[in-house]
Amino acid sequence: MLEIRNQATRTAPFPLATETVKGTAIAPLPPRARLSLRLRPAEAARIGSVAGLPLDRPIGTFAAHDERRALRLGPDEWLVSGPADETDELGARIAGDLAGIVHALVDVSHRNCGLAVSGAQAEAALNAGCPLDLSLAAFPVGAATRTLLGKAEILLVRVDAACFEVECWRSFAEYVRTFLVEAARGT
């Protein structure tokens, strides 16, 4: 008889080792808590912040507080993230801050996975597949947006002049990682 065991272990969608090509490091990031928040802009302006994170930042930027981040992706859409072991706590805190206000808060922690791309040529490697202007003048430190990398949709965050974080859906993870490795080879 087939033995069925309860195996709920999460496996990483890509190899966990950092790959460095021509000075560009492509490093898988550990799992994070991620919550997709939809809220009317007028209510967001009235509330000001959730879980200590300001909501009124310009679209296409992120706000950070300790380990937590709120990416403003659109006029009524935020992606709030934090350490993986704080998922429930973060969700409860945001829901508490928004009690009585119409909103949608969805846990998407397992949907996305992250990669850090760093090095002097990180910008060039990303531009192999991303059509945005990634110069510091057009995409400064603190910028965060949804965009494209090759055929995959990604979230691109600039955490430092020479360090980007790329988040993609889990099923695109290996495509995005190998795309960046190939792109770094061409820089």
Partner: protein, 97 residues
């Protein structure tokens, strides 16, 4: 690459956008009062001007919001973009900078 100015995100590459057909097509107030010809015209018949055309666009790989744009179908130049639900601005192709 053609840049399209999203009313929320600013100028962005065209790859991030999807086209949504003619803008400002009003749904009939009482569809059941229409005959088949009128209903099919509402569903399928669209303007096809050579010149400035009001269109719907979606910033699919950005903020994912719908918005409207005035585009010159002859030159492919965008005259302006404006949020969904607002009236068509009174602008002509000559207003393109």
């Amino acid at each position: 690459m053609l840049l399209i100015t999203c009313p929320h995100c600013g100028p962005r590459p065209e790859l991030e956008f999807r086209y949504g057909g003619e803008a400002h097509v009003a749904r009939p107030a009482d569809p059941s009062a229409l005959d088949d010809r009128e209903w099919s015209e509402f569903l399928f018949v669209r303007n096809n001007p050579k010149g400035v055309f009001a269109e719907r666009w979606n910033h699919a790989h950005g903020c994912q919001r719908w918005f409207n744009a005035l585009r010159d179908t002859h030159t492919d130049a965008f005259v302006t973009t404006y949020p969904a639900g607002t009236a068509r601005p009174d602008m002509a192709a000559e207003d393109v900078r």
